[in-house]
């Protein structure tokens, strides 16, 4: 029953990954893609959490911690680029 729960969690996360990848491909604007990338990063954190439970290796949690921080830095960098790049949609 426990294995079944882990399987269901993996299944739901994979489905979520596919859906946010569809949004990443569709766009339509760059901020939409950045939001999709951010969700992909937190989905990966979720995957790592399920993998920690499935394998019993708690060292994976360090990866989750670093990933949560780098995703934040990436989002801030993209926002900075969009703001200062002087690149407007209606031009």
């Amino acid at each position: 029953m426990f294995d079944y729960a882990i399987f269901v969690a993996y299944l739901l996360l994979s489905l979520a990954l596919v859906l946010s990848f569809v949004r990443l491909v569709l766009g339509p604007s760059l901020p939409d893609r950045v939001v999709a990338l951010e969700l992909l990063a937190s989905l990966t954190v979720g995957f790592i959490g399920v993998a920690v439970v499935a394998t019993g290796r708690s060292a994976f949690l360090d990866v989750a911690m670093v990933l949560a921080l780098t995703a934040f830095l990436a989002a801030i960098a993209f926002a900075r680029y969009l703001e200062k790049g002087g690149h407007r949609i209606d031009d």
Partner: protein
């Protein structure tokens, strides 16, 4: 018992992340998409981390899981604010049924300066002249 609790947390967290992804795909514009992903995504990842902490049960793992949750909760609103602001600056179209855009007409896309609010006839004599001089200087500048 611990396995049952872990299973509940993992499946609930994964379900919230699926809801976040569904919102990201189905919502009509950038701001509503961010509304879906920022909150449901952080909640889902946090629940999964709680599940992992309960399952392993060692102090170091619990501390790491709490650190991950704290990072997520601290960084997600800041990142969402930055991206939403950048999206507005870029002129990303809002949903056709959005009916209140308080920045409309007050934000200068070239200089990134917000004008003051529209001048309202106010009973406050001390505030009124200052508001006028502010808007005059921003117009001439």
């Amino acid at each position: 018992m611990i396995e049952l609790l872990t299973a509940v947390f993992l499946v609930a967290g994964a379900g919230f992340m699926l809801i976040a992804a569904l919102g990201l795909l189905r919502m009509p514009d950038l701001l509503t998409r961010m509304h879906a992903t920022t909150k449901a995504g952080v909640l889902g990842a946090g629940l999964i981390m709680v599940g992992a902490a309960i399952f392993i049960g060692q102090l170091t793992v619990v501390v790491k899981a709490v650190a991950v949750i704290a990072f997520l909760i601290l960084t997600a609103p800041v990142a969402a604010h930055a991206i939403g602001r950048a999206g507005y600056f870029m002129g990303v179209p809002l949903w056709s049924q959005t009916h209140t855009d308080e920045l409309e007409g007050r934000y200068d896309p070239e200089t990134h300066i917000l004008a003051s609010g529209p001048e309202k006839p106010s009973g406050n004599d001390i505030q009124a002249p200052r508001e006028n001089s502010d808007s005059d200087s921003s117009r001439s500048g």
